[in-house]
Symmetry: D2
Subunit: 431 residues, 4 copies
């Protein structure tokens, strides 16, 4: 999580202050549940809450340097602030009860923020997709001119993929909203499943069906894989923007602000740096998937090897993805699309992309597919070498005109026909 | 996919024969849909089906060496076998319509097989978890004796994790069951969304809401991540088996067959080689996640960089995971659990694990938590150094006996009490 | 390792036959060393060698199914073939002495083959780089026209990167050429460092300075990382070929064979499928790096978790990379370069890429850098919008012509000047 | 790079202040080289140096927010501070000349610091290895008691592996010490190879033999892979410490400071948290290898997708590894080794580990290997089941005593004999 790629709300989310505050929330929720069950005298949590204490992260970290245990340091500091009542906190609990339930709350909050941002990026994509639902462009496969699509269809495809990413975030959010208040090795030795249920419900969490000392880490890994899916969806879009903006293509480009300078050496250049940056950041988000999976495997009832990993990838991945989503939204909203240049590419593609319809017409007219293929290819290759258009060549090829009327040949070269489903497709994807 | 780690049904699933057979299924389903919509004369698909042709994979591959295009080679061979009717196949379609719909069918079949195997492994885990729901063992955190659990609780935790893996397989199966019959760049230039819907429904697939030339690859990546989750769940179990079987621990071991020899140099050794093998194979399955994510990003309407990756990881990952699941089932069923050795470890742990209850009793009796901690720790450390048991030390410590009656101290050392929820926990997880 | 991507010599290298043959070599080398040191009667190895036995891999694997131990199965079979003398083999050795020394021999052989292939690819790159050392093309940064380079410079850059890859293969070869004949946990309990040295020297290997039961796996991981570097170098080249071949660019393309068909739907298309394939295969090779690193960590003196991983990635990575190198050589040799299209791109770039020289001339003439930047940019932006060339605009801009003479302006627009080091650069890189 | 895992010198190394300072160094070195070659008036660099300007990172970043280009912002700020002379800086250069040469300097400094720390960790390992060269312990393979080693041998093995890591750091340092002063696309359009050579030599760097716009990224990837090797070497050591400290084993443990508290619930526990932390951090370091490889592939003469990745993994990986090395040194120095417990494990292993010598004695006495194996195994299995020691069983087994004298049997059970090479091995590895 570096300042450059961290939205302010994620900077706040992953501070020590916030973390300790959430720990206290967990302790108090557990305390209240225990009060209900008579394990703790009534009124303790209420009294502590009424003091509105402000935890001092620096103080906790100073204590930790001595005791080398973060939750003990935290509890010691709480005791400094609230006095005697503090002895009722953490009753029968283990550090992981606090840490993991609190981490669940932070992850839920992070994922919620990511979903909101995904929605904003989706909205931008939907708007531009509708705007250009009928703007023709040459589709490309293998980087080669293929058959026509529309700019709106392409954007709708990115919308659909990002939306699947959003669904994965939602499922991951559901999966990560599990906490644990079950004591040392998760056996409720000094607690009960019911106390846990009540405590976690107060926090908006469910109880882990069978925890070890900790909440199992496949839940966390699912959040990281969901993030990687969203990052990959963005990466595919950003890659396409980079292609469109190429000098050779020039079909669309990132918005360019007034004072912006493209290159120290070449003052005229306008580079797709937002999109390139998104491609790089996607690598960072994807790279967290491997350690997230490694974190799943632990020794016996738990080891703490996962902890340092989570301290780093938790903030890094969620903040970076939030930044990516914000940037994607701006990128899409500001994307300058050049219909004239889209048309220029269509013109450069010539009429070769109509070869498919021609092939079908020949087959329909009774020719074997491979034979038709050879006929079409020979005219296509001529056109591709710059000798005439496919249409002109075909109309001069008696092997073809012997099979197809001039009108039938003409009907094969109709752009409106091949794109007749464009708006249907866009609307179906955005539905 | 190497023979050693490939179950026979997966060897069959990923043959060229099977692949070409599925391609033909897709072509015929599309043909039938087109017949219904008048694009192809009625009866074509029926006549082809009635010929019961057997495709010759070697012949197709020989043609491919000339034309350098697999689907064209396939269609050429079909034409060799069925003659004139073949010209109606593949009408308006692009190779990816066949390839991706067929791949979806193969992946669905693979995932279905994995789910069946997961169920078998789950069943084995459930049986053993119930069998040992009340068999006490010392829980370990950080590899250190912690508090007691039961062997059944531990197995139920592995069950719950593997079951979450199964849910991910199910979701991935739903996500991969999408095909495409939409032509070159997915625009239905010579087809229609309705024809696609009908064709794919015959195959048990849904239509991709917005395809490019191909079905988007996040669907495939989700299958590979789901596999990685299952593999990781197995890896955590296998890691624990390795720990239990250690000479230092000896709490459980893999079944050992009569003729098996453990080591060429040390004839007496019985090594947890199944579990070690499972840990290694998990690395293989997890390693496919990174290229699966890289496959998502393509240029424009498609490139073919993903294809070679899928040719390798598709069979490798699914077959390896199937092998792992089979092995896991056998491992769990055959696992030899030694209650006497479990008790020996509990004895070695001494009574230190009761310190928590003691701490709570002191807090309950009015002592500040940190003060109680110091009191308990000093007695615990003595016991840990071999000077008396915790119980004996505590009962000789007047700072404690001044607060707690002898009965209250005794009640803190009750194994049955701390494990009172064991069966509840196991049944809740297996529910 | 699938047939499609496996050169025949790598198919042979990774057979069971070959593996067992190398095991026998290791056993015999060790036996001879022990004969020299009196641990084994003289003549044993010679007698066994003279029998020219042919090991039956199927028989060994059948025995293994009973004894569940590969080396014991192998030794049992050798005993079947050579009789009594076999009892002297493997004296004081452990399975890993055979397995790891043999694996080293196979890996050395694999890497040697890869180096030979890398040399062939390098030779192809050198030839084409020299051929086009002075063929100008527009350089691109961020996909945007930047300043001119030559095609030879670009190829020489790929040469230099691939050559660094070769150096890494060489170092990895040196690092992997270590074996072990030190017994169970590497302590020479029934052997000696000197016997090990002699045995391994016969095989062309060095002795591991301090083995555990096995040769440490960082040596193997280094081979896999070296392979990933070579694959990445190829991937960068293949990515550029894909860019050059784009319909929008058309500067170079893969050789297209006579019968080859580009697309089932679009008969005219010639797709860069070799390069796309290389990009996909690079993902496979790179994906092996993660499990290779995971293999380094083992429990105590060894565990066998690495073994299954190596069985899969050893053949897969080396064979796939060999295939990639062969394909790269062919790709480079056959690459069709279109100087006319290179010139067309240069023309499209206009003369904007001379802006840098102009900027420098203004600074030289006393203007502050940022002021000069503004002047150049305003003329560049006009040209970029299609209003005149940079040169014409500049010569009409009195703020510039007030500073620079017409001759000085002209000298800024000399292609030969900016490329004056082209051949020097190419030759330096190929040196 | 989070504070918790960042040594202070790495926090300083990766600040904006430091980065901009190094940029200025590069600009001045280039300026001096240009002065020598007459491209810039003599004295410029000297005058700028004499001003001892202090760059204001906040100011540069503020300018960057407008111009959206870091190097232009930097140059603008330099011009603010040094006035007119600034126009001579960056002459004919491109941003990447500054960025990549500066990054090389920072990476070299980072790697140098890592090497110093590796040496400190190596020294600690060497000291402890010598100290315990002759301290016997039971070796374990597959987690099972195998044959004896010494604690010093084991540490020497970790030393040897870490030292190979150091060699990889050294090679990576050599490979990363390359800069570039070659202008926009690396063609020296307004510079020369000789100017570049001189400029970089002043900085202690070599000139990239053939750069594109940037220094190729395989150099950077090699630094990250070297770091991953060192991290893996540490991870293997840390994994072993975790095993030794297990309650079941107790052979060694991390130093435990006075105030340290092991667990909030179990006051007596002393957990191997340093080692667990090292295992987690190793995952972080290893995870950077994948994006580092992805960074190698760029479009044409460069794209900027790598930049964001390097901003994150450059500091993260080097700082984290530095922290790991410091922690490893402390871990090794403070490791508490318990010879009595090592002996206890040896005793638990019984005398089974002498079976190998017995097997050899039987073979020597003329028995076929497999026959001997069966004889030894039956006695070993009895001992393993708790019926007598191997030695006692063997001496009662007439099939054996018929072949071997009582003295010969006794000589097979000599611990000193099997460990006779211990010191030799340790010294050889430390040499």
């Amino acid at each position: 999580m570096i300042a450059r790629y961290t939205p302010p709300d994620f900077a706040d989310l992953w501070t020590s202050d916030k973390r300790f505050k959430v720990w206290l929330e967990v302790e108090l929720a557990a305390c209240e549940a225990m009060e209900q069950h008579g394990l703790v005298p009534e009124g303790v949590a209420g009294r502590i809450r009424s003091k509105n204490i402000v935890l001092d992260a620096a103080r906790i970290e100073a204590i930790e340097r001595t005791v080398k245990h973060d939750v003990i340091a935290f509890l010691t500091h709480v005791e400094e602030l609230v006095g005697d009542d503090a002895r009722w906190l953490h009753r029968g609990m283990t550090s992981s009860d606090v840490l993991d339930s609190a981490l669940a709350l932070l992850m839920v909050e992070a994922v919620d923020k990511l979903i909101v941002r995904t929605d904003a990026a989706l909205e931008a994509l939907a708007k531009r997709a509708r705007e250009h639902a009928e703007t023709p462009m040459i589709g490309r496969s293998h980087g080669m001119f293929a058959e026509p699509v529309t700019f709106g269809i392409v954007l709708a495809g990115h919308f659909a993929e990002l939306k699947r990413g959003r669904e994965r975030l939602e499922r991951a959010r559901e999966g990560i909203a599990y906490g644990k208040v079950a004591g040392a090795v998760g056996t409720y030795a000094h607690l009960s499943p019911e106390i846990e249920r009540v405590a976690l419900a107060k926090l908006g969490l469910k109880a882990e069906p069978l925890a070890t000392q900790i909440v199992p880490r496949d839940r966390h890994a699912e959040v990281f894989t969901a993030c990687a899916f969203v990052a990959s969806a963005i990466e595919r879009l950003a890659t396409n923007v980079r292609h469109w903006q190429r000098s050779d293509v020039g079909e669309a480009e990132e918005a360019f602000t007034a004072g912006q300078k493209g290159s120290s050496a070449m003052p005229h250049k306008r580079n797709p740096i937002l999109s390139e940056n998104l491609c790089g950041l996607a690598r960072i988000v994807r790279a967290a998937v491997a350690p997230a999976f490694e974190n799943i495997v632990m020794w016996h009832e738990r080891d703490i090897s996962h902890s340092s990993v989570e301290r780093m990838i938790g903030p890094d991945v969620t903040a970076t993805l939030a930044f990516m989503l914000d940037r994607t939204k701006g990128l899409v909203e500001g994307l300058v699309i050049y219909p004239a240049n889209l048309q220029r590419s269509l013109d450069r593609a010539g009429d070769l992309f109509f070869s498919e319809g021609l092939l079908l017409a020949l087959v329909e007219a009774g020719m074997a597919r491979q034979e038709a293929y050879v006929l079409v290819q020979r005219n296509a290759m001529k056109a591709w070498r710059g000798e005439g258009t496919l249409r002109a060549n075909v109309q001069a090829d008696t092997d073809i005109t012997g099979r197809l009327s001039s009108e039938r040949v003409s009907s094969c070269f109709d752009l409106g026909h091949v794109l007749r489903f464009a708006t249907t497709m866009v609307e179906r994807a955005l539905a």
